[in-house]
């Protein structure tokens, strides 16, 4: 894994992929396919409420990863990083709460 600090010595296009963002991207695609299976009739889960809660939780884990690794908030000053963490936590709690109350 390399960060922006070692990019100055990068030579080949493959060097661009040597970042934690690539691993995060693979997770995001796998999580998307999993959510799609859970949200349609392709999953081996009979309880649609439980499946929906998992789909919502996965969505906010994905959002957090996009914020931290794609937007680079992982290395941002703590108040800015705290904003994305707080947004994920609060909005996740609200949406899951509203969903379960429905």
């Amino acid at each position: 894994m390399t960060s922006l600090t070692s990019l100055a010595s990068s030579r080949t296009p493959a060097d661009l992929l040597r970042t934690s963002a690539t691993a995060v991207w693979i997770f995001l695609v796998v999580a998307t396919v999993t959510s799609w299976a859970l949200g349609t009739d392709h999953a081996f889960v009979d309880n649609t409420t439980a499946a929906s809660v998992v789909v919502l939780l996965l969505a906010f884990v994905k959002v957090r990863f996009v914020g931290l690794y794609f937007m680079e908030l992982k290395d941002a000053p703590l108040p800015l990083r705290a904003l994305i963490e707080a947004w994920c936590l609060i909005v996740c709690a609200l949406t899951v709460g509203f969903f379960l109350a429905g």
Binding site: A8, V66, L78, T95, F98
Partner: protein, 203 residues
């Protein structure tokens, strides 16, 4: 005019350890988090409307094509990765020339998203479904339409980033704008990562 032209912002190659820094301008983050909070309110308003008529929402949601939504999610994820790679490329003198092509790929993915969205809307209208059909479809068209509007803004932003990345050298201001523009594009992706499950998948 070489004094304000640099290879990378904040000279990351010489930064000691993990120096914390704000990607883009501070004002960009006020806009991004403001937008994210507005959408957070929309998510809650949608779910509270669903609470009032769960059976009606479930019936109408069954009319949606989840495959379109899933393909669009993957398109936006690919575009986001390409923007990440382009942002890394502009920091490397040897790889900078790849940045415009990576951004053009991201732009095409975004355009593909809009194409599929247009197909989806056309399919609905063909079946006589409009925002007036029901509360669910009103929210469906308004929320996905508002997101599509952000995506169009994002495509315009990517066009500017392609122009910047095509320059032989970028100024510090252009680097900062580049990072902010890239973060705006990631926000468009991020909002869809919640909208897709909320409208298409959650039952």
């Amino acid at each position: 005019m070489t004094s304000d032209v640099i290879d990378a912002p904040a000279s990351p190659a010489t930064a000691p350890g993990k120096k914390r820094r704000i990607p883009g301008e501070e004002g960009t983050w006020i806009f991004i988090f403001g937008d994210m909070c507005v959408f957070a309110v929309f998510f809650c308003v949608y779910l509270s409307a669903r609470m009032a008529d769960p059976a009606g929402f479930a019936h109408d949601q069954a009319e949606l094509n989840q495959n379109f939504g899933a393909i669009n999610t993957v398109l936006l994820l690919v575009s986001s990765l390409l923007v990440v790679l382009a942002t890394r490329a502009v920091h490397s003198p040897a790889l900078k020339r790849h940045a415009p092509r990576l951004l053009a790929g991201a732009w095409l993915c975004g355009a593909g998203f809009l194409g599929i969205k247009a197909l989806e809307y056309a399919e609905k209208v063909h079946h006589g479904i409009t925002p007036q059909t029901s509360d669910f479809f009103m929210y469906y068209f308004v929320l996905t339409g508002l997101h599509a509007f952000h995506l169009v803004l994002g495509l315009a932003m990517l066009t500017v980033l392609i122009r910047f990345a095509s320059k032989p050298e970028m100024s510090r201001g252009q680097f900062i704008f580049f990072e902010g523009g890239a973060c705006f594009w990631h926000m468009v992706d991020l909002l869809w990562l919640v909208l897709f499950p909320l409208i298409f998948l959650v039952r």
